[in-house]
Symmetry: C2
């Protein structure tokens, strides 16, 4: 039953995010990617894929779209190894600012009926669930 609730909540959250980001010409996965790049400037494609819970092929096509729109940049060749460090452009950073504000409002709305103690508990409980499911394969 909890799994069903999780799916329900994620579906509702995703819908709200898509609706709000559409006005900026962004999809939810694209927003997630930009957000990761702000937290981890210079991250490689594979690293972004792991953090975004998609395959690196999926992240690759995602990055190309963002690259074509001038929101992120990647060097043609790697200085060392094969990883291509990706960074936000100024335009990407500005668009991300606008997107992040919208997403923050949605997340705030999502937890608006929880007091601060409930919010902390919820985050902690979710973390315990994640750890339990991932133990044994990292």
């Amino acid at each position: 039953m909890l799994g069903y609730q999780l799916k329900h909540l994620q579906s509702a959250l995703r819908s709200r995010m898509d609706e709000s980001l559409r006005e900026l010409g962004l999809s939810t996965p694209q927003y997630v990617c930009l957000e990761q790049l702000r937290r981890r400037p210079g991250a490689s494609n594979s690293e972004l894929a792991r953090r975004g819970f998609v395959t690196r092929q999926t992240m690759n096509t995602l990055l190309r779209g963002l690259q074509d729109r001038g929101l992120v940049t990647r060097p043609e060749k790697a200085e060392t190894g094969r990883a291509l460090p990706t960074t936000l452009t100024d335009a990407g950073g500005q668009l991300l600012d606008r997107a992040a504000e919208r997403i923050a409002r949605i997340q705030e709305r999502m937890i608006s009926r929880l007091d601060s103690a409930q919010r902390e508990r919820l985050a902690g409980d979710l973390e315990l669930c994640i750890a339990a499911l991932e133990e044994g394969e990292g």
Copy 2:
């Protein structure tokens, strides 16, 4: 941040479910569909779609696959209206039994680090989040 945790948890849960169901030749959406049919025998395609958080087109293709495998049945024509009431076949029910047992183990593992009070709290908190996101368009 909570949105990211939700995605993380859902991704992990989905992976475990896919892994376990693959041995039965089922995908997670197919399992969800069968489970809904057990709870709501005779449900229409559109009803199943709403409860599964997918479009009715998606549910339609899903149902056809289950139908071709003899796991569910639908009448050719509706007695009244256009809705075609779908029901589990014996084979579908038996396969669902095996699948449900596996899924139950995974969900139990997911919440294994939470005591009963935490589990109830978590379910309640998730419900509050869902309601907050859906108020105004339900």
